[in-house]
């Protein structure tokens, strides 16, 4: 039995929206990072779905690169969060508004 691609795409859309709500609503920088990971993963699911649908391996290669870049992004981002926490002793992004002017 093959599940139609629409169901996978629906799950991907809902996960992406959940990640978007997380980025917009939450103020903890760590939780915002996890929401970004959620969005990246939903896009990965879309890539894999269409790779299966079109029998094209390039979709899975794209997922490989997304995973690599996501790993780098998490490492650098968490280092920045730790640096901010050292100087401001907070991870609430509404308190870090130095660029506000």
């Amino acid at each position: 039995m093959i599940i139609p691609a629409q169901y996978y795409l629906t799950i991907s859309a809902v996960l992406f929206t959940l990640g978007m709500v997380g980025v917009l609503v939450r103020r903890n920088a760590l939780v915002i990072f996890m929401s970004i990971e959620l969005m990246l993963n939903s896009v990965n699911l879309t890539f894999v779905t269409f790779a299966r649908q079109l029998a094209a391996i390039e979709g899975q290669v794209a997922v490989f690169f997304v995973v690599v870049i996501a790993a780098v992004e998490v490492v650098v981002g968490l280092a920045i969060i730790i640096a901010i926490f050292r100087t401001r002793s907070t991870v609430d992004i509404d308190d870090v508004d130095l660029l506000r002017g």
Binding site: A5, L18, R27, V31, Q53, A83
Partner: protein, 170 residues
């Protein structure tokens, strides 16, 4: 279906839990269920990659950072941008309905029959080392840049030689 329900429940858990540790564990739930879905979509290599890199490395990194910053990782009670929350709910709802409309009214393509060995390490690796060789090498350079950047950003502001003259932190 079970994997889908688990993934969606985990996604809600990521954004709705109060403590960051629970968010990280919900993220782990999402990632595991997505790995199951990748297996269903005949992407064995991606499923293994998901479990090793995401669940094995990224979530552990998140947990380490939560552990390092354990004192004040909660959110303050005072909300500075009060209009932000309802507006983001409304706009996200609009976005989700647009996506679902596009998915369910679009003309679906016929599922192509995948060749034998589709999605195995061999087929993905063959594509990576022939067609996508240059992006693959650039990805390794990006990883190196990320390592160096993490070390530079995470370095203490005061060099260790000058720290002996400072009073100890309270």
């Amino acid at each position: 279906m079970v994997a889908a329900a688990g993934a969606l429940a985990g996604g809600v858990g990521v954004i709705a839990s109060r403590t960051p540790v629970r968010s990280a564990l919900s993220l782990l739930l999402v990632l595991g269920n997505l790995a199951v879905m990748y297996l269903l979509l005949s992407a064995q290599f991606i499923a293994a990659l998901q479990v090793i890199v995401y669940a094995g490395a990224i979530v552990v990194l998140f947990l380490f950072v939560i552990m390092l910053l354990h004192m004040r990782t909660g959110e303050g009670r005072v909300e500075k941008l009060r209009w932000q929350r309802p507006v983001s709910y409304v706009l996200s709802g609009v976005f989700l309905s647009a996506l679902l409309w596009a998915i369910w009214t679009g003309t679906g393509t016929q599922v192509a029959t995948s060749p034998a060995g589709f999605g195995t390490v061999e087929s993905v690796g063959r594509s990576l080392f022939t067609t996508f060789l240059l992006p693959f090498e650039i990805a390794s350079v990006v990883l190196l840049v990320g390592i160096i950047a993490a070390v530079v950003v995470g370095r203490p502001v005061v060099p260790p030689s000058a720290r002996a003259h400072l009073p100890p932190p309270e």
